[in-house]
């Protein structure tokens, strides 16, 4: 039953992308966009919004399954992501379950950089196509 899903490869993160995501999402925490503020917090550079990385994981899930089928999506943020890092989003189906005559596929998703560092790890549930 376990099945690997085709990974999606993202372009390297840029500071401009973080500025765009801040504007789009409305999360203006300056730790994501203002380098001196990030340094004041003890970081070497700005860090990506965790939600941006989750957004990429969501993008991957909706290339594997129709958006409409997604019922649950949960992630745990593991490590900070900095501009310049290149992420790949991988996933696999772990199994399925039937609840009240509806069958769902259960899967896991992960965002990993080029060095193999895991940034985000999560699970999802989609309604199985007839």
């Amino acid at each position: 039953m376990k099945k690997e899903l085709p990974a999606i490869i993202k372009t390297p993160l840029t500071h401009s992308q973080l500025v765009k995501y801040a504007g789009a999402s409305g999360d203006f925490n300056p730790i994501h966009t203002v380098v001196p503020v990030a340094q004041e917090a003890g970081l070497k550079d700005c860090i990506a919004h965790g939600m941006l990385i989750m957004g990429m994981a969501g993008e991957a899930i909706c290339t594997w399954f129709p958006r409409e089928s997604l019922r649950k999506f949960q992630v745990r943020f593991q490590k900070m992501t900095f501009p310049g890092e290149k992420l790949s989003i991988s996933g696999r189906i772990l199994g399925e379950e039937t609840v009240e005559k509806e069958t769902y596929l259960l899967g896991e998703v992960a965002a990993i950089n080029d060095e193999g560092e895991m940034k985000l790890k999560g699970t999802f549930r989609v309604k199985k196509e007839e």
Partner: protein, 146 residues
Amino acid sequence: MKAFVDKAGLKTQEFSFTIERGKIKEFVQAIGDRNPIYHELTAALEQGYEDIPIPPTFATVIEMWAGLDFEKLIELLQLNPLNVLHGEQEYEYMKTICAGEVISGQMEVVKHVQKGNMDFFKLETVFRNSTGLIAMISRSTVIERH
């Protein structure tokens, strides 16, 4: 260690947000998500959506732009903004939300614990469509290190 004042039970005011195609496009462009259902109305209609659907993590846009932005959260939970981390995030989807809908929501602090030098807050936001049906639930864990 910071003195513990339990924030569980705190709620925001109910907020309301109109889903717009342009806001969806801006959001998916920032992510780099090229799925045509978010970019072209015809693609969305062909796949059976009533309009452009929202991507899976769009709830964050509704919350942040409709009233619960980072500064408000900091004020509500009385956090030091430099020490705040987003630990976990979960969404449950009951009904696909599309552009044109008016969505209302309210966030509640459902749990607050202190462990060692960290405070953990579990937040839950229930999103309803204009007929009052629950369309989506967001659950997040926010961590403050001190």
